[in-house]
Symmetry: C2
Subunit: 359 residues, 2 copies
């Protein structure tokens, strides 16, 4: 991997130039009357992709908290983005809003929190993307941001897979990894589930209606994220309506699909979904402390894989198991459990009820 | 429900007229040199369907074993048919071949084994079909066959749901029910999974390629039938082939789809899939002894529902729990366990290794 600093990257490196002309440059307002400094930027680098050769790629990041603070790199699932939590500058809710804010696990008064949009998330890179490529992209981004070493990499789902890759490939830049609901391999059953989701997208594309197939894929994905116990508590039995059977969860699943297709590119979905299935890290290559978090009811990333990961790590590893009806989505829903684990991993006292206090 | 004996039905009722002209009449050969008597027939009856009013429906059945023997009615999942196991007359393997044959649980020397093609299986009845309608159809068929009372109803998956309906609606015609991996309700999570499968069929139909959507639906169904442990043992990690990621299970899933679309009607699939979701039996209406068989790893029909069923039954119920990596498909794969349970329920000594000896 090598860096090709473009003019955009150069702008990114300048100390604090508030630039509102374009999303392609640093978008920060250090003179903001309240709240920790927040900025967004993008940088173009050349990366040697494992399955597609050398490519110029654009990395879009967001940073929250002062540059001098210990840095946390935070990544979620394939549909998460660089906006982890709300700030004065970027007030929209982030994908991990429940853990971000003053006094919370991800506290910009104590840490600089950096994230980025996944390589491929803009749908313009239509090639196989390895999770190891994402780890290299993050290392390149940290070079640009002049962050030699992370206090912690905190990853959830695909983000945890990439975190393990980062720990294996760039372990000298990392003090600790927290891997939540994503491990060293893709489970063959989960891979099959994803492969069929990709076929739903392909089936939709055959009729030139990509959103229809993408929506169906997302709905099948939701089933893999959640659990029977949750559905049992939430949804009514099926009914006959206009000569067809409609089941209790269909309104909810339609809502999920509509929300998703409005903000997702089919190409990005296909390539990032594939990327999960390429996950293959040898745990013996990891030499930083790891906190592994698994969910008993996770149907996609089973507890047994977490145990296998911990067993194979040559370093101290802390396995934490959560009990949750939300299955794979527990990292978004079990706010207190996750906050306590993050607080312990970061050796920080944290509130465990940030869900209620967050914006 | 009332019977409308057509000429076909009349033929069916005649004692042993071997008629080879058409599948629409009894197809038996009592003069066959070996093996128990086997016959196929069809009968047209009028049924009051719960969601579609009064309809003339055709019931296609198969019977194996002498008419004087105690009768077992045997039903499988929505893709099973009337051909349970091979006979001299009908030598193709049946859907429950592993349990059928001399010395096995379903032994035509000791029982007359009757089954039928599900109402709607021919794809000509494009209306909502209640599992209770299937139970009424079976009662009508037993009238035609002059079987006043069953020694046992043995149902697997959807067949178990219909068996519970039969026990609730026609309990006076039944000595015992064996309900394997199908219970008194459709679980809301399993219903959601099926609803999405139906949407895959609909998505395929939009482009006038029904087989593509039907194949994808079947593949998602296979995932719901099987378990992560089985896939983990069987399939390799994903690979990049021609610029796309292909996961280990895809060849297998393609094989499953191809086999299925060649023998299934999209309309039948949609209506029988819907029918599962309409399952709603009040266990308190059942007053015959029931053996309930559940599989610990079943992702579609959870053990907790079996326990709830047993708890609500006002009669003696025997709950048997199987441990199997085959999940919902354990009734097809765990031959010895199922044979032992059937033998115990039927008070018959049975071989438990029929898989090896069956044709």
């Amino acid at each position: 991997m090598s860096l090709a600093h473009t003019s955009t990257a150069a702008q990114t490196l300048s100390p604090a130039p508030a630039c509102h002309a374009s999303d392609a440059c640093v978008d920060a307002d250090p003179a903001s009357p309240a709240g920790p400094p927040a900025l967004r930027g993008e940088v173009t680098v050349a990366l040697d992709l494992r399955h597609a050769g050398r490519r110029e790629v654009t990395l879009r990041y967001e940073s929250l908290g002062a540059a001098g603070l210990p840095t946390l790199f935070v990544c979620g699932g394939i549909s998460a983005d660089r906006h982890v939590s709300a700030s004065t500058r970027f007030p929209a809710s982030g994908w991990w809003q429940s853990q971000g804010g003053q006094g919370c696990a991800l506290d910009p008064a104590r840490h600089r929190i950096v994230s980025f949009d996944w390589l491929g998330a803009d749908g313009r890179l239509d090639v196989p993307l390895d999770p190891a490529d994402q780890a290299d992209a993050i290392a390149a981004l940290l070079d640009v941001l002049a962050v030699p070493r992370l206090e912690a990499f905190i990853g959830c789902s695909y983000g945890a897979m990439v975190g393990l890759q980062f720990a294996a490939l760039h372990g000298d830049r990392l003090a600790r990894l927290v891997a939540i609901s994503g491990f060293h391999r893709a489970h063959p059953y989960a891979s099959a589930w994803r492969a069929l989701q990709r076929r739903a997208v392909a089936l939709g594309a055959l009729q030139c209606d990509e959103t229809h197939g993408l929506g169906l894929a997302r709905q099948f994905a939701i089933l893999s994220y959640r659990t029977p116990d949750e559905f049992d508590a939430r949804f009514e039995p099926a009914r006959v309506i206009d000569g067809r059977v409609r089941v209790g969860a269909e309104d909810y699943l339609d809502h999920c699909a509509a929300r998703f297709v409005g903000r997702s590119s089919p190409t990005a979905y296909l390539r990032l979904s594939e990327s999960i299935d390429l996950q293959a890290v040898d745990p013996r290559r990891i030499h930083v402390p790891v906190t592994v978090v698994a969910v008993e009811q996770d149907r996609l990333v089973p507890l047994a894989d977490a145990q296998a990961l911990v067993d194979q790590l040559p370093v101290a590893a802390d396995l934490r198991v959560i009990d949750s009806p939300y299955g794979h989505d527990a990292f978004l829903k079990e706010v207190a459990d996750i906050a306590a684990i993050l607080g312990s991993a970061l050796s920080s006292p944290v509130q465990t009820d940030c869900k209620e206090t967050a914006a």
